[in-house]
């Protein structure tokens, strides 16, 4: 063992031998260890990586918003539920970020060559490099608005993941098959809250109606497909979100009727935003908080 250290972190690393972990990341082993990550024929590796980033970033940013409810939820049970949902989505994000890194290692290597791909991608990309839809990045608002957002998100994601289970990429298909089981519970949770609030008191009805009005402008973007999504869908590897609208509307109609809420009018034409890296100020603030320590002390281990 050497005793000459450049920094306290080096001595920590020696003390703990091979068990030292980067302080901010998952600290876990590669979640895809032993999984075959060969690129299926007919798709560009760069396209597959970007597609995985899209699905990963939706889950990662939504997870970060859900964890903001920790210590702030109206009841302990809801705090536990929201944290659990966030944890499921974080797990989906990890697998998808790792899959993105395996498909195109040049992206994580350019960001932080020494870190696991998933950590490099989560902590060292700027907002303009994130590919999530706008819906997941906007502020939580009150509990009612968060419930509506979670309902819209999980309804859309469940429809997407359900179709992705037949992807020609076995990794995406497997991640989707696990995700379907999880998001089914998330959607039921959010739907029951929207019904309980909408069909509750005048105050809770008004709050959830306001949440619906605040959330709906971000719904249209969920069904606009980018070039990458269209190419991946054509190759049988991805899902074209334009095809998810009917199922989404059907589920929303069921929930809103039970909640005595008016179905919002169809939104005006929307353009691609998050999928092409165009984001609101809300994502910049969210990432500043999520990434701050890792960027300030990039070499810290424990």
């Amino acid at each position: 063992m050497t005793t000459d250290h450049d920094s306290a972190y080096d001595s920590l690393a020696d003390e703990h031998g091979g068990d030292a972990r980067w302080a901010f990341g998952t600290g876990f082993d590669d979640p895809l260890s032993g999984v075959d990550t060969a690129i299926p024929g007919g798709v560009e590796a760069a396209d597959l990586a970007v597609y995985c980033l899209m699905l990963a970033d939706d889950a990662l940013v939504m997870s970060q918003r859900l964890t903001e409810w920790c210590t702030n939820a109206p009841e302990l049970e809801e705090e536990v539920a929201l944290a659990n949902i966030g944890l499921d989505l974080l797990g989906q994000a990890r697998l998808l970020l790792a899959r993105a890194g395996a498909a195109d290692p040049s992206i994580p290597q350019r960001l932080a060559a020494d870190l696991p791909h998933e950590d490099a991608l989560a902590y060292f990309r700027r907002a303009a490099e994130y590919r999530n839809v706008t819906l997941v990045e906007v502020d939580n608002g009150d509990f009612a608005r968060s419930a509506v957002r979670l309902l819209a998100f999980s309804t859309w994601r469940l429809a997407l993941l359900d179709r992705l289970t037949s992807s020609r990429d076995p990794v995406l298909a497997a991640v989707a098959a696990k995700g379907v089981k999880e998001v089914t519970y998330h959607r039921d949770y959010a739907a029951r809250w929207v019904v309980r609030l909408g069909d509750g008191t005048d105050l809770s009805h008004d709050r959830v109606a306001a949440g619906l009005a605040a959330t709906w402008p971000y719904v249209g973007e969920l069904f606009v497909s980018s070039d990458v999504e269209q190419r991946l869908a054509a190759a049988g590897v991805g899902v074209d979100p334009a095809g998810l609208r009917a199922e989404f509307d059907d589920v929303m109609r069921q929930v809103l009727a039970a909640a005595r809420l008016q179905h919002p009018a169809a939104e005006s034409t929307v353009d691609i935003a998050g999928r092409s890296g165009r984001h609101t100020e809300a994502l910049v603030s969210l990432l500043a908080e999520m990434q701050e320590l890792a960027r300030a002390h990039p070499e810290a281990i424990w």
């Binding site: 260890s33 032993g34 999984v35 536990v80 499921d88 696990k178 519970y185 039921d188 029951r192 929930v255």
Partner: protein, 167 residues
Amino acid sequence: MNGLIDARTIAEAVTDPELPMLTLADLGVLRSVDVTVDGGVVVTITPTYSGCPAMDAMRDDLRRGLYAAGYSSVDVRTVLHPAWSTDWITAAGRTKLVEHGIAPPGPARERAAGPIPLTLAPPARRIACPLCGSPDTEELSGFSATACKALRRCRSCREPFEHVKEI
């Protein structure tokens, strides 16, 4: 045989850090254990939930146990397909859960063709209280101290308890 304790026996005895009454074999996450020609071991496990933080500890415990038993190399691999189901929890595992006050899962929901149905009210279920045995219990929350459990309450003995929910 090389005189070492069978690798499968060691791997099967590793416990879940969050449900320590269950071994990896009870839980159904241990998918295969193979000894290579040069005396190493390849273990494959499958995650319960995508974000389950116990996976990391399971990998470490598998490595520690197998190295301690004298195996020269230990490779713990992940397999994602087919996705884990609570149906894979063994009969012995279910008995242990009840003995520790946790209601075991029922059969996982059969998936019908078409879109996944929405469930707007918790389905009326006959989940017996693991403490007093009464079937008169209700769900308090679909989520509990770990991702894999729901929180319920017994209307007979009034005690809350956890239930491993079906996936």
